[in-house]
């Protein structure tokens, strides 16, 4: 069941989450105010309690015994008992034998804040170090309160010191958290905020001498007030934001050239790039001292992640990682130490496995354990080359990269974009037991991942249509059960007709593959199911027909051998491909292809020998003038052999290099190949 928590989040910046010991999950992305939620709430609430932003006046009234010099503050209290910071101080009243002190103009709390009480604090005469709760009221509407306690009585009420034992001002320590930090982490009973967001969607119209900036195609947010606009070579503080008309008002007039098509960035002040802040202690996650922060690392780098790992909080920059440690109070006994000169791409590309963590930065993948870095990705380093043709990482989508750890198969997957997609559709997978690397492609974008906090933990993947997925429960994507394969009756430009209406409505959004017959190898997404008709999102490149077989939820797979060389004297060195596999219960096949001398196209098997079958269920089938030797995996023998006659293969410049590819689609059963044997070959030096 899906329940809405909030709809005010900015669309393109992923949120960061942290669960605190008070049961709340705090989340934000630096483009809206920090929010929190726990399962007693139907909707997410704003984190922190806004400070009363206006002072009030106090005056004596009547005739009595109150004498002395007084000031007063007000503060709000929310449903969880969190206090706001203090309002601006009232006027100073010199009272002489008054009956009561009347406060007028006390600010009322804003709506939507879960504020349930207001308090008015007053000092005892002769000192202004400690204030006491004189009024504690659930009346949120009135702006006038009357205080009539004597000093002796007042001292028995709740005490609110304004300074700590070191003389530091603590009146502001209950301020709401900053709204410009996209990264949040929980560590040793405190929340930490770090990082910086850059808002640059669209462009702006700027006019020399004007404080008004008009956005075009922008997504200006209310929280931009107080941040800095960079445009036309200058920087300008933003005073206010008109959300409806997408206009900014600057604190000072724009001094650059008038431009109707100016590019821009809105972000916090430069010092915030590398400053990390923390909440108050004692489980007070909603109170933040604006001065409780530390600047970290290289000024020309930026904080991109916060990683609680072991007893430390690791602050990740793009090119370095720092270890942050403290005993009781980060402000007094905290320390920042350089851990390694490796960093991270963002806050989501790390995965912890016991005493070690696996990370990705712009140089590659590495393991961090016991303070040591171990490079992992030497064998796939070319994926990180930015100017490379072919398969390489699309760094423009780096904000959406994320890592997922699957404990069951000892694998870490980094979801990245390897093409022009905005959201990741590929995973670079690493098995840390076998140290094997491979690349996976998904039929839909996987924009996020999480780990269940269960035993055993399982990975959770976020896909389109608000769907969640996990690994390994079936050999097909997204669905279980029968009625998911068969022969097509016919097909349209972007549809396929089943012979029997078997596909369930839940098949919408799932992949469908043509596994045999005309159009074999095509892979589409089902857009709609209506009777026997399956509509797909993109037209077929080769329209299937009644010879075509399909599989819903099919997962395409491909494996390619290393290079070998044919042994030259074929007459005494038979050339053959032999496979041992697990017979499947359901219909399944794999295709074998051979590539000679680094050719991009495989050889045609039937030029070597005619297509042949052995009864109704041939083990190996060859298509006329085809490049696939299709192995019937249902054959109970679990063995297939394909003779390769090399007498025709005398291509020019014969080195006789050969490479085998196996490919297919998973169906109702997993495909397991136990042994692959190539006869008549010898190794090639790399």
């Amino acid at each position: 069941m899906l329940s809405l928590l909030s709809f005010l989040l900015e669309r393109f910046t992923p949120c960061s989450f942290a669960q605190a010991t008070n049961g709340y999950v705090y989340f934000g992305n630096g483009m809206t105010s920090l929010r929190k939620w726990r399962d007693t709430l139907s909707m997410a609430a704003l984190a922190g309690v806004n400070t009363p932003n206006v002072g009030f006046t106090i005056a004596g009234s009547g005739s009595g015994t109150i004498t002395g010099t007084y000031r007063a503050y007000t503060r709000f209290v929310d449903e969880d008992g969190n206090f706001s910071a203090l309002s601006p101080v009232s006027n100073e009243l010199v009272a002489s034998n008054v009956l009561s002190i009347v406060a007028t103009g006390v600010v009322t709390p804003p709506a939507g804040q879960r504020i349930v009480r207001r308090q008015i604090l007053r000092n005892t005469s002769g000192q202004f170090q400690t204030f006491y709760v004189d009024i504690d009221s659930t009346d949120l509407a009135t702006s006038t309160f009357s205080m009539s306690r004597s000093d002796n009585d007042l001292q028995t009420q709740g005490k609110v010191p304004l300074f700590d034992t070191l003389g530091s001002d603590i009146a502001d320590r209950m301020s709401p958290p900053r709204n410009d930090k996209p990264i949040i982490a929980h560590h040793l009973g405190r929340l930490f905020l770090g990082g910086q967001v850059n808002a640059s969607q669209g462009h702006v119209e700027v006019t020399n001498g004007s404080t008004t900036v008009q956005g075009v195609g922008t997504d200006f947010r209310a929280v931009f007030a107080g941040r800095v606009l960079y445009a036309g070579g200058g920087s300008y503080s933003i005073s206010s934001v008109d959300l409806t008309n997408q206009r900014l008002t600057l604190a000072t007039a724009y001094a650059g050239t008038t431009d109707k098509f100016a590019t821009f960035i809105v972000r916090s002040a430069p010092a915030e790039r590398n400053t990390v802040y923390w909440s108050e202690a004692g489980g007070n996650y909603d109170g933040w001292d604006p001065s409780s922060g530390v600047a970290v690392g290289d000024a020309d780098d930026e904080v991109v992640g916060l990683m609680p790992f072991g007893s430390y909080l690791y602050i990740l920059q793009r090119r370095a990682t720092y270890r942050f440690t403290y005993n009781k109070d980060p402000a007094t006994d905290g320390g920042v130490f350089l851990a390694t000169r490796r960093g991270a791409v963002n806050n989501r590309v790390w995965a912890i496995d016991g005493p070690r963590t696996f990370l990705m930065d712009e140089r590659g993948f590495y393991r961090f354990e016991d303070g040591q870095v171990t490079e992992l990705s030497q064998s796939i380093q070319d994926l990180f080359f930015r100017d490379r043709r072919g398969l390489s990482i699309n760094w423009k989508s780096a904000r959406y990269f994320h890592a997922s750890h699957d404990e069951h198969d000892n694998t870490v997957r980094w979801f990245v974009s390897l093409g022009g997609d905005r959201l990741p559709r590929n995973a670079i997978a690493y098995n840390y037991r076998t140290q094997a690397w491979w690349v996976e492609e998904f039929p839909f974008p996987v924009g996020a991942s999480a780990s269940s906090n269960t035993i055993p933990a399982f990975p959770i993947l976020g896909g389109p249509n608000k769907r969640l997925y996990t690994f390994g429960s079936d050999s097909r994507d997204g669905i279980q059960g029968g009625g998911l394969n068969g022969k097509a009756a016919s097909a349209g430009i972007a549809s396929l007709e089943q012979r029997i209406a078997e596909a369930p409505a839940a098949a919408v959004g799932l992949p469908i593959a043509i596994t045999a017959g005309r159009g074999k190898g095509q892979w589409r997404t089902i857009a709609a199911v209506s009777g026997t008709t399956l509509r797909v999102t993109r037209p077929w490149s080769i329209r299937p027909d009644s010879t075509s077989e399909y599989q819903i939820g099919a997962i395409p797979w491909s494996w390619t051998s290393r290079l070998f060389r044919w042994i030259e004297w074929e007459s005494s060195n038979r050339r053959r491909v032999e496979l041992l596999y697990q017979p499947t219960k359901n219909r399944a096949a794999l295709d074998a292809r051979l590539y000679l001398d680094r050719a991009k196209e495989p050889i045609r098997w039937d030029l070597t020998f005619p297509a042949r079958g052995e009864g109704d269920a041939p083990v190996v089938r060859y298509e006329a003038r085809g490049v696939d030797a299709s192995v019937n995996l249902q054959n109970s023998a679990g063995h297939a052999a394909m003779q390769v006659d090399g007498s025709r293969e005398r291509t020019s410049g014969y080195p006789g290099l050969v490479q085998l590819e196996l490919r297919g689609f998973s169906g109702g059963d997993p495909v397991a190949v136990f042994q692959i044997r190539l006869d008549g070959v010898e190794s090639v030096e790399d």
């Binding site: 899906l2 329940s3 809405l4 928590l5 909030s6 709809f7 989040l9 669309r11 992923p14 949120c15 960061s16 989450f17 669960q19 049961g23 999950v25 989340f27 929010r35 939620w37 726990r38 399962d39 997410a44 969607q201 669209g202 462009h203 119209e205 075009v216 195609g217 109707k260 098509f261 590019t263 959406y400 959201l423 974008p445 924009g447 996020a448 991942s449 999480a450 780990s451 269940s452 906090n453 269960t454 959770i460 993947l461 976020g462 896909g463 389109p464 249509n465 608000k466 769907r467 969640l468 996990t470 429960s473 279980q480 919408v508 959004g509 089902i526 857009a527 709609a528 509509r535 999102t537």
Partner: protein
């Protein structure tokens, strides 16, 4: 110009390049206006200005239209209007919304939360929605 097929919740990419009377790319007097109309009844679905793509590409403007619940299945025309040297000019493109999809979009952030009695997965989508799946299970 045909801009492709999309599902609800996706972002339709539309683009145009401002040209002068000789067909050369040029910067218009201001950002072009963009009007999206439903083909079946010419209902105006959206009206706004379109932002530039990159300053280095003269006159090229690009936008991603969020296909929320107002974009039902069917074809949509996008009309771009702009001025060059005082003269009004216009361009057009078309895209189609096909069946399937979810107007709330794709998940871009997720977090698992376990309380005493139930579990949740909090998700954020690329349409600004924050929601939670309660007791997610395989099906």
């Amino acid at each position: 110009m045909w801009m492709g097929q999309y599902q609800a919740g996706q972002f339709a990419l539309v683009a145009m390049r401002a040209l002068d009377t000789s067909g050369a790319p040029v910067w218009p007097e201001e950002a072009p206006g963009m009007m999206v109309l439903r083909c079946t009844d010419n209902t105006v679905v959206s009206t706004r200005k379109i932002a530039l793509f990159e300053r280095s590409v003269v006159g090229y403007f690009q936008d991603r239209i969020q296909l929320d619940a107002t974009f039902t299945v069917g074809g949509y025309d996008v009309l771009f209007t702009y001025k060059v040297a005082g003269a009004q000019r216009m361009q057009q493109c078309r895209f189609e919304v096909v069946a399937g999809g979810d107007p709330d979009g794709a998940i871009i952030a997720a977090y698992f939360v376990r309380s005493d009695q139930q579990s949740h997965v909090i998700i954020q989508t690329d349409t600004g929605i924050c929601a939670r799946h309660k007791n997610p299970r395989l099906y």
